[in-house]
Symmetry: C2
Amino acid sequence: MSFAANNRSYNPPARPIAVLCIDGCADEYISASIAAGKMPRTEAMVRKGYRGMVRGALPSFTNVNNSAIVTGMPPAVTGICGNFFLNPETGEEVMMNGPEFRRCGTLLTAAADAGRKVAFITAKEKLRTVLGDGIVERGGIVFSSEKVNEAKKETHGVDDAESIIGKPRPEIYSGDASVYVLEAGAALVEQGKADFLYLSLTDFMQHKYAPEAPESLEFYGQLDEQIGRLLDAGCIVAATADHGMNAKNKADGSPNVIYVETLLKETFGDNLRVICPITDPYVVHHGALGSLVMVHLEDASKTEEIADFLIRQDGITEVYNREMSALKLELAPDRIGDLTVLCGRDYVVGKTPEHHDLSVLKGGLRSHGGRYEEMVPLLLSEPLNAEYVRKAQGDPRNFDVFDFACNASN
Amino acid sequence: MSFAANNRSYNPPARPIAVLCIDGCADEYISASIAAGKMPRTEAMVRKGYRGMVRGALPSFTNVNNSAIVTGMPPAVTGICGNFFLNPETGEEVMMNGPEFRRCGTLLTAAADAGRKVAFITAKEKLRTVLGDGIVERGGIVFSSEKVNEAKKETHGVDDAESIIGKPRPEIYSGDASVYVLEAGAALVEQGKADFLYLSLTDFMQHKYAPEAPESLEFYGQLDEQIGRLLDAGCIVAATADHGMNAKNKADGSPNVIYVETLLKETFGDNLRVICPITDPYVVHHGALGSLVMVHLEDASKTEEIADFLIRQDGITEVYNREMSALKLELAPDRIGDLTVLCGRDYVVGKTPEHHDLSVLKGGLRSHGGRYEEMVPLLLSEPLNAEYVRKAQGDPRNFDVFDFACNASN
């Protein structure tokens, strides 16, 4: 049965549909893993179906793009422009860890209303709480691998999830936390408990390992096995990523950081604040260092002067004032800073040296958030119809992934 | 024997080295062709060696990036910032079709001076004339497949090139024009006539066909055969691209063009001129429509006002004044406009409707020149040593390809 959400229409076939967000999956991970022979099922899947590139939303962060994917809308509409924002009314830094920060409904509840058996499985608990609202009330299932042991019928739509999956809760700082999400999805489809799934992984492995690292290849091999299980269970499989991932280190291996608040305060005084909207409870991944920060100024008259100062710094690649951030980066003007600051492929921007604990970054920093983590893969198990061949050749977005999964092969 | 060029050092092993510039080769072409089983030699090559992404120079045009590749330097140093520029002294639009426009020497002549048997084979004659200077004088070979029949010992370093290759001159508007370049390279290595090769193809096929089109897969299969020949002849093979390629059409299939000169003259009057630096004699490829143009203003006081007007247009993504173009796009300030204007993934920017002949664009427009054609693949037949593993994880450039070919596997 077809349904609509946020003025977009979805006409999914009756067979099960599994949409995967492979967190931090730069296209190089797919290429390297296929080249190493680690993804035979995915390789065969895209040979029959489709593999191409889609443009994610900026900032190229997890919550921003997961919010876009489950709504089909850019951050300007969802209002989710980072994990953190500075509430202009209170002056407080607020973690957007509940659905009340989101400004539109999800297509997952619309699918459930249309009679689909929806399951939304995440690796990180934060995504469950931010995006899972309304699904359980409509008979669907929502849980995270991080807290799968807490899943209860009333709150998560399912009791005893671990025994359905046949495995105990994995460690959140692991590849298993992601593999488990796909295992859960496959088990739910195999057991007829779900037929419309959003499976959102964690980028712990991608933060830690480059595409050709043996650990990464092994991890993608495990994902491939579960993609195979989903295919064997009759699913249309569509996969994309929330963002890419790049190494962000100096030649000596230390993180290549521009401390924007420190830099600005030296020159312009203390009347400003930098927010790192990548900040989340999972700091081991990235030490709260990404490739985009927001600058909040007490004195708005300095905006253009500071923007000009920033863009002249080595490594800073783009600086937008609030109006231009809304216009060119599709951001919600009241959820961002006076300036949005992006940096190069091998740089991160931070607040102050004291604010970031670099000791958690074993083996160098890999991170995301900027322009060079914007383009991500789109994989689909079905060949595209003529209309979607054309769409794929335009400027398709990662938040079109449900559109492609539901509509591209009819 | 090691050598230096433009303050970079190259320490190539004695075995033959073949560097390929696969014109217009967005990474998707490699992925699609490998997925379709059309590039078995390349697939095996990168499994043993390396495949990753490198950043090209902007504008993402052919001459700009070929100039960067053969010098190891960005456009700020080479001075080649497009195919055309407006000479500020004469007010004339000048095609940079000779070596006198380039501001530094090539590493090809340095390699020849160090005793290497250099061969520089191009598909397009324009590249031979722009970048091939000094090689024949040092005993090397330079010719284009477009005019291979004109090759003479005194001017091209070789007589009767067609019989060395064993095939007659191909049609320039064809995939064969590129395949022929690789055939020529392979023949020269096999016959001991060259051991340090730069083989630069044409993007006729990529302008015409998307990565998964049967014609494209067939073409990449032919390239793969010749890559196999180069490997069989004992070459270190390194391949990159000058730029990527994206479709640039509206939903109805017509080219998605913003006519910048028309737009600006409507609002700001006639005192300005737009230069399309993609313009070259090969207009069938793209109708002189790319994703970057230069705006020249007679009245410099309007610069910021016009920049602000432009950046507010749908599809325009970046606008830089001359100073910022030099600082952030690595361009030579006297070879560019007052404003550098870039557009989105599925847009091109043009001059006026009269200036562009869209009738040459059969089957829709695919083009390049902007930010979304900046990232290109780097393929290498050898595994990277520890130093180059680290380099590859930084912000490697396509104009580091000779560095990788010579130095990465020692």
